[in-house]
Symmetry: C2
Subunit: 411 residues, 2 copies
């Protein structure tokens, strides 16, 4: 009898699996460049208005437990923020505050998944979607972001998969369809028409839509973002967002779920999620009051996000150009978030798996990336392009010469 539970095999995070090796190399004096984690504050100090708001919250004594599903001030501010951006009509009652989207995903899967039930995911998927789904006994119906179509969703493929479930009498076993927009790891902003088609399909088959919009304000290269809040009117859905990326405060662990509709599924889920929140009593309280204040400071936020966006656009495009010099890579230019997801020719480089490649790269060149199989796609690598251009230069040049060397070695 094993001491550790069977489900625990799904408690893994490919984004962080090499952190131990990186720490060891650093302790040996190696200059490791870690491009594995999408952590804006590492390169863009969290803006002063955010820090000031946090200090004020602490000094005002907001240090005890708060309402389990979030303090009123923040839930109100989140509703106002989304309504202003997307013309939705949410109220504070539609919002639940969580300790990052990480906790939201855990609660949602625990609240919905019985063993053997399904969530619709799109590959490449964000790593936590699959671990949380499987930890609670769920299975993925795996659809595709299509590289040939600039990583937009292949809606025919989606409809076929759903139809098949319907024909098998299993449509009610699908608990949700989970989108990331802009996407992680590809940086794709979904085209409005495609998003509308997805929502139509969800509506036709009665699927609950979850839209993870954590990068919704980091859009560039001329793209235009559409929120599910703008087009899902009347269809049961949840929107996930938070302070981490747009507000440059990953370490605050502050996420929010919005479930605005009043249909039976939405209401039942929202009430149940509030009970999950109550089980853990409260999320971080001074961070919540800080964020409520920060959301009220639209002017300071606009300036901060505008600066960060311009910088990110420049860094991502620079990195894409450098990666383009590498004949063993194939890269679609992103237009949102700050990730680049490149196909890599493992065979030409003499590696049998992407993990072997990323581990070897880390040990030989001290560059830490994430293997594509972590996102459901072996033969790819994810590069976080938040660092200044000189660091990106060093890292990508190392990657490129690493590839040359191994291709040559293989002959």
């Amino acid at each position: 009898m094993d001491f550790i539970s069977k489900r625990s095999k799904y408690a893994v995070n490919p984004l962080r699996e090499d952190d131990g090796i990186a720490r060891k190399l650093r302790s040996e004096g190696k200059n490791v460049i870690s491009l594995n984690i999408g952590d804006p504050p590492r390169y863009f100090p969290t803006p002063k208005y955010m820090i000031d708001a946090f200090v004020e919250a602490l000094k005002e004594g907001h240090t005890g437990y708060g309402q389990a599903d979030g303090v009123l001030e923040l839930r109100e501010a989140v509703a106002v923020h989304y309504n202003r951006a997307y013309g939705s009509k949410m109220t504070e009652n539609d919002v639940i505050i969580t300790q990052g989207i990480s906790e939201a995903l855990m609660f949602i899967n625990s609240a919905l998944m019985n063993p053997g039930e399904y969530g619709v995911l799109f590959r490449p998927y964000y790593v936590q979607y699959i671990s949380n789904l499987k930890l609670f006994g769920g299975n993925a119906i795996m659809c595709n972001y299509d590289e040939k179509n600039n990583w937009n969703v292949d809606t025919d493929d989606l409809e076929t998969a759903i139809k098949k479930m319907k024909a098998a009498g299993k449509i009610n076993k699908i608990k949700y369809l989970l989108l990331t927009n802009p996407n992680n790891p590809t940086g794709t902003v979904l085209e409005r028409g495609i998003l509308e088609k997805i929502v139509d399909i969800a509506n036709n088959y009665g699927l609950f839509v979850i839209s993870d919009e954590i990068y919704d304000e980091i859009i560039y290269n001329g793209a235009r973002f559409t929120s599910v809040a703008e087009i899902a009117k009347g269809i049961p859905h949840a929107i996930l967002n938070g302070a981490s990326k747009n507000f440059d405060a990953t370490g605050f662990r502050l996420g929010y779920m919005m479930i605005p509709e009043k249909d039976e599924k939405s209401v039942t889920l929202r009430n149940k999620l509030a009970e999950y929140a109550a089980v853990r009593l409260s999320s971080n309280v001074p961070a919540q009051y800080a964020m409520a204040k920060a959301l009220g400071n639209a002017e300071a936020h606009s300036a901060a996000i505008a600066h960060m966006k311009t910088e990110i656009e420049d860094r991502v495009n620079h990195a894409v150009k450098l990666l383009g010099k590498n004949p063993y890579l194939r890269t679609i230019r992103p237009n949102g978030a700050f990730y680049i997801f490149s196909h890599i020719d493992l065979e030409a480089l003499g590696f049998s798996t992407d993990k072997e490649l990323t581990d070897t790269l880390l040990n030989e060149e001290y560059v830490q990336l994430v293997r594509g199989s972590g996102f459901g796609m072996p033969s790819y690598i994810r590069i976080v392009s938040l660092a200044p251009k000189d660091i990106l230069d060093t890292a990508i040049n190392k990657l490129n010469s690493f590839c040359e060397r191994h291709a040559k070695k293989r002959g």
Copy 2:
């Protein structure tokens, strides 16, 4: 087919189930006294050295993700703090930081419980123990804190229950034995001899011991606290603690797990818990740096905890005296934490359940307590005795006259 999962029926928290009613009454202008949540900052402002440490952490820019299982500085400080207090020899590698003990309980149960396996709990238990155990498919082997023995653990009863499991060939299905010391809801500090006996039993049957010691510094009425760290030498165990109670900072959501031994169970569990931590990326980072600094300030902490302890002793003893005037209650005086758990004669008062009583009390007298059944013992009530004496006076006088009135009504 239900939209909500079957396990979700366990996602409930009796401590907070009446929060909605209390909010509604307040919105109607009623002066509700809530004695349902053990939230020290509500009555003891979080000490200035804690706030200062937090502000400093923010100003130093600790706002990005941290190491998944906790920032090094805090893990080191926690080990030093415990070693100093209890003569243990922990290192930073034995410590994992979580978002409160709430998150630690979730991770532990997810990491250990397969459906149909067991945890040994003691009744009355802290509410989250049972919800987390059941959410992950576990069952409780329910032993007892014995009211006749001043709420100490009945070790004969414990040994009988374990023996029965052994005889049935199910001993390996017991994943842990979980103690709370000092106890919530009874405020009992376990006698050293009894704790040693429990550890002996665990050792004889190969059980992993978990000791929740979140109130270890709030000891009074002449009691002496013994940590499992002092007496479990060599036996696989985990200790849970955190900033919430001793450091008067519930809203920081900062817990720590210590798993110091090097046996196979301990090592496997510690590694797996670090992976669970990685799935959610990081816990609140500025709070961790703040706590690392605060733990280094032993002098300021000693002064703060000494003040709080003296006040709590006074308030608890005052409340016990007032409750003693109520002929429908039976109360053992606590000597740790700040909870009072009183037996209440439901029949004499004409209530069929403790929930009916606490709900009626809230609606008629605007006093919010928690029903004993939330802790596994109907016919009891839990009273949080953190408020100043004048508030406790008002609340308990209301409770007492409520009981008189209902006893009379019943006739």
